[in-house]
């Protein structure tokens, strides 16, 4: 019992640590001042201004479509790659792993500028597609790194058994292997999605033709001070995603009962 309480307390503290800044951010979306200096009164002005600024709405749309597409693509390519890498000979494995580390350790600005040079050299017109390609590129390694430990954990006889029982390789993968490594695949997807949403530097250098993302919008405001409009937007998004999560969770538990 005491052990259980300790665990709950520990988890509680960690979650408070994670959500404290989010709470601050939400509170300041209702602050009358443009700055985060002092509390100077309650207002809904930033929400109204947000509705007026259509450039933010289009940036929001780009941000989410890119993040979803890029992390889905990266999850598919990365999961396949992780399985392949696991079955490689040690030397080939080492080469592939080193290649995988490249985008993880390269500073964003270096990835951004080098991809910009590459796209221009390949005569690509900068825009939505180049942005997507860049995001998939820095997402794949995180998926591989998330999936590999699960594959390592996999019982090698599992697939053999499935094949012996008459499953096609594809069936064996989808019915036996995939469910076993699913936690890793989901983790990889979540990490990739998170990175995509938040990326500024790489996005900045690989976009063009008026395709803005939210991060680009926000960082470009630092000269004049990041507007609380963005806090307002974040609040709406946060509450939205949280409610969605709660609804899904409740439906899931209803079904189980």
């Amino acid at each position: 019992m005491v052990k259980k309480l300790c665990k709950a307390a520990y988890a509680g503290i960690i979650y408070v640590f994670l959500y404290l800044p989010i709470l601050v951010l939400i509170v300041y979306s209702f602050n009358d001042s443009k700055y985060r200096g002092n509390w100077s009164g309650f207002t809904l002005r930033w929400y109204q201004e947000l509705m007026r600024d259509r450039t933010i709405i289009s940036a929001l749309y780009n941000t989410f479509t890119i993040a979803i597409l890029a992390s889905l693509l990266a999850t598919v390519i990365g999961t396949a790659a992780a399985i392949g890498i696991h079955h490689m000979k040690p030397r080939a494995k080492a080469v592939f792993m080193n290649i995988t580390y490249l985008p993880v350790m390269n500073p964003d600005i270096v990835i951004g500028i080098s991809l910009l040079a590459l796209f221009v050299w390949l005569k690509f017109k900068l825009g939505y597609i180049t942005l997507l390609l860049a995001h998939v590129t820095f997402n794949i390694p995180y998926v591989i790194l998330a999936v590999l430990p699960k594959i390592y954990q996999l019982n090698p006889h599992l697939e053999e058994a499935a094949l012996d029982l008459g499953a096609t390789p594809l069936q064996a993968f989808f019915k036996v292997i995939l469910p076993e490594i699913m936690a890793g695949v989901v983790t990889g997807f979540l990490l990739a999605f998170t990175l995509s949403l938040d990326d500024f530097m790489v996005s900045f250098f690989t976009t063009g033709s008026g395709v803005n993302t939210l991060s680009i919008k926000i960082y470009s405001m630092t000269k004049l001070g990041v507007s609380p409009k963005i806090n307002a937007l974040s609040t709406i998004l946060f509450i939205g995603v949280l409610s969605l999560l709660i609804i899904l969770q409740q439906r899931a538990s209803n079904i189980k009962e």
């Binding site: 700055y35 749309y61 796209f119 017109k125 470009s220 001070g225």
Partner: protein, 350 residues
Amino acid sequence: MKKIISILMIGLLILSLAACGKGETNEQGYYNKLNVYNWGDYIDPQVLEDFEEEYGIKVNYENYANNEEMLAKIQAGGTEYDVIFPSEYMVEAMIKQGLLLALDMNNLPNMKNIGEQFKNLPYDPDNKYSVPYFWGTMGIIYNTKKVEGQVDSWNILWDEKYKGDILMLDSSRDTIGIALKRLGYSLNTRSLEELERAKVELMNQKPLVKAYEVDAYKDMMIAGEAAMALTWSGDAMLLVEENPDLAYVIPKEGTNLWFDAMAIPTTSQHKREAELFIDYMLRPEVAAKCAEYVMYATPNEAAKALLSEDVIEDELAYPKGDIMEKGEVFIDLGEFTTEYDRVWTEIKAK
């Protein structure tokens, strides 16, 4: 479940392709798309919508956070930006590298609205390539409750009394610039000796400095958590409005005068529409709208007349007399830039 996901995916793909439709000529004879590249939140969004409505040209609006970022994108190519908003030294650097198109003054009748003292400045001697958008000064913002006596010199930033209460700008040109000014040198110096002396000054100052900042220092000043900060006039005005204890001063040793301009980069495929946009931005009512939104000082005299009395009379934003006497304008340092960067790294990494 799988079906839903695949339908969603296809939907997204179609939408994303639809987002980048082809441009063509509209009824008024203009190409119907214009790519504008600007700092974030540096324009009243309403102005863009009005422009679209009036001319039937869709504005693709994209942002950057820093002059060098913008330069890197323009240099690389692969983009079709039509109008950009570089700062004065960047205008100069871009002219020297042949990255700007010469403006046709016949297409910019509203250029007459710009005050004479803002025309033909050293960074673009005949205004062949750029039109000023906003301008201002650099100075010290201080909390009158924490700082006693008259503030009129950069020396106060080196005063031991305010140890841990001083905020400096995290920008090599600006912070090194005021150290040079304090020593009586030009803030565009290319003398290694003068630069090294400024470095020693700033290293001595470092123990007194609370932080080198670019944006969040404004919050600290409003909250009264620091005695003084180096700041630009536009921001100073907003800060004083938030906290009446604050005051802004341009030190007597002289300061930096800054200008942000509008220009057309060589990546532009539609110069006529770009000039149309710039001329539109020069209209008194449009420039006034932007000045009200951004709260920076406009060089557009006709627009200034439309602003409220309080704003124009505010000496913080619009210093009286010959502004050129107040300070120097940054000149691009070319290859000497790396020396400033080395010095800056040495100061910060100490």
